[in-house]
């Protein structure tokens, strides 16, 4: 019974709760038990808020008993990446510098989820301030991949992806700046959606790179991603970057139909190694990933889609552009952590001056990768380097956007593997930050162009999940979700579950 509950989608659970086949409390208890058991091996949660979740579930059951209308996520447990603010719930961004911080307000997505009846189960582990591709940059230790405990779950939303894959929750939220929802989705064998820039309010998301950050769902089906996006999307007066573009019913777009769909594949880019600068390493496409990707394209073609070769000439520069732009923005956003208003302050600085308190607090409070990015960002914004690095990167960002504009004149979606390799080993890239950055080769383009992109499970390489990534036009999440859902109807990759710890 409990195991069966845990395999159900959010849509099914919502319907089951609504008709009384199961109570919200039963669902919540099953998920809590699974989360607590799985966390021992996976370390996916920074916080499991059992009492709060059960109280919330009881409230949903009371509402149903009283015949009150229920929201579209009523009784569905959800996990939130620990960079999303929940009033009264410890929020750390997996950083020591937020030690003791308890948000005095809810993120807009949190308010929308709870208004829809979702039950927040807890906060998931992630790379510190969402900076990383392996979840190894966490003050609370790495998350392990449920498919292979010696592998990374991906990052930075590694805990969210692992929690969904390990059946702790049917759905979770992550944030995606350069691939942080899609890549862990691919590594853990679940769906990960990065919406269009401006689609979802970031109010209450701890900022990393403000021209790139987007909040997105991790789910086991495209239909659940559509459901969550319908709840969290839309304009918000508290976030001036949200768009007033109408929010469609994303669930209604899931027709199962891909006849006539034009899929663009940038073959020269996907097949090629990124260009090697001095001292650079190349990122080869894993043979198992290539095979799964080609197989997925074949499946979609047989279902009526056409595959067209396209060129994205500037995609090969997306990694340097991304790491110049994102770190510049990060160095500015993270200037706020100074030991004054909230979080950690270096001890023994009472007799020092303010300056020493600031710099010691920041050195002790931030982890190595965050410091590295603050340093890089500060450098590229500093006098004498601004034009050569930061401005140049912003210009190449324009060229990349134009590449996509041209491609979307001929195709409806662009397909690539989500990651050139399946999940790599813990510790494999931690000594070489550049090598870690190169793993993001296929995911950094979409956020630079502001475009929506989804990763959907499309097979395995040596027993490790592989993701198919689809990028769409601005605000056209519907086509991405429709294609991903149609693909799920053709294959059963998305139903595969990792070996689970004893329940």
């Amino acid at each position: 019974m409990a195991a069966d509950l845990l395999d159900r989608s959010a849509l099914t659970l919502r319907d089951d709760v609504a008709v009384g086949r199961v109570s919200a409390v039963e669902v919540c208890q099953a998920c809590l038990a699974r989360a607590q058991a799985a966390n021992v091996a996976l370390n996916g949660f920074n916080l499991i808020a059992a009492e709060r979740a059960l109280a919330r579930a009881e409230q949903i059951d009371r509402q149903r008993a009283a015949g009150e209308p229920l929201g579209p996520l009523a009784g569905v447990p959800i996990a939130l990446k620990d960079n999303l603010s929940v009033r009264g719930m410890r929020t750390t961004a997996s950083s020591r510098i937020l030690e003791g911080y308890v948000p005095p307000y809810d993120a807009t997505v949190v308010r929308r989820l709870e208004d829809a009846g979702a039950v927040i189960l807890g906060k998931t582990n992630c790379d510190e301030f969402a900076m990383g591709s392996s979840n190894e940059n966490s003050a609370f230790g790495p998350v392990r991949n449920p498919w292979a405990l010696d592998r990374t779950p991906g990052g930075s939303s590694g805990g969210s992806a692992a929690a969904v894959a390990a059946r702790c929750v049917p759905i979770a939220l992550g944030s995606d700046t350069g691939g942080s929802v899609r890549q862990p989705g691919a590594f853990c064998g679940v769906v990960g959606l990065k919406p269009t820039y401006g689609r979802v309010s970031r109010y209450g998301l701890l900022a990393f790179a403000s021209s790139l950050d987007q909040i997105g769902p991790l789910t086991r089906t495209a239909a659940d991603a559509a459901l969550v996006l319908s709840v969290i999307a839309g304009a918000d007066p508290a976030d001036a970057t949200t768009s007033r573009e109408p929010v469609p019913d994303f669930g209604a777009a899931l027709t199962g139909e891909v006849t006539g769909l034009r899929i663009g594949v940038p073959r020269a880019f996907v097949g090629a190694d990124p260009p090697s600068g001095a001292g650079a390493v190349t990122t080869g496409l894993d043979e198992g990933v290539r095979r799964a990707f080609e197989q997925a394209l074949g499946d979609l073609e047989r279902a009526g889609a056409s595959v067209v070769e396209i060129a994205l000439p500037h995609a090969q520069y997306a990694i340097p552009v991304y790491y110049l732009v994102a770190t510049a923005e990060a160095s500015s956003n993270l200037a706020r952590y100074d030991g004054v208003k909230y979080g950690y302050r270096s001890t023994g600085t009472k007799d020092q001056n303010l300056q020493t308190m600031y710099s010691r607090t920041r050195d002790e409070g931030f982890g190595a990768e965050v410091k590295r990015r603050i340093m890089l960002g500060t450098y590229v914004l500093s006098a004498g380097y601004y034009d050569a690095f930061y401005l140049k990167a912003q210009q190449v960002r324009t060229l990349l956007r134009r590449d996509y504009d041209r491609a979307f004149e001929h195709v409806d979606v662009v397909a690539m593997p989500t990651s050139p390799t399946p999940a790599f080993r813990l510790g494999e890239k931690t000594d070489d930050p550049l090598q870690m950055y190169l793993a993001d080769v296929f995911t950094v383009s979409a956020p630079l162009a502001g475009l929506p992109a989804i990763s959907v499970p499309c097979g395995f390489s040596d027993g490790l999940p592989v993701g198919l990534q689809l990028t769409g036009r601005l605000f056209d999440e519907s086509t991405l979700l429709r294609t991903a859902d149609a693909y799920e109807r053709l294959t059963n990759w998305h139903t595969q579950a990792p070996p689970l710890p004893p329940h």
Partner: protein, 100 residues
């Protein structure tokens, strides 16, 4: 432009970024940042003459609202998270700013 980054460069950036790095961190970051910058230098070979910069991709929309006071955090909530609050005064306490 030289791609060689010196310890002095790293110290200068660390001061700008308000980071008091240890000697070990300075050594490590000098090497790692030099690698990353050498890789990133490839963008400088791209012809971008006449290409405008993209700072963000959101369509130019007006997001102004009427200039009217709105509810915000109470002083008590605002100082509740501070490492060294003076709640009665409604203030954050910090070490001395000048001298010391």
């Amino acid at each position: 432009m030289s791609s060689v980054l010196t310890i002095a460069d790293v110290e200068r950036i660390a001061a700008l970024a308000q980071l008091e790095l240890t000697d070990e961190e300075k050594q490590l970051f000098t090497r790692q940042l030099a690698d990353i910058l050498a890789y990133a230098q490839q963008v400088q070979a791209i012809d971008t003459s006449g290409v405008p910069a993209t700072a963000h991709v959101h369509a130019g929309q007006r997001t102004e609202r009427a200039d009217e006071p709105q509810r915000s955090l109470s002083v008590a909530d605002a100082v509740a998270n501070a490492p060294d609050p003076a709640p009665d005064a409604g203030l954050f306490r910090v070490p001395r700013v000048i001298g010391g």
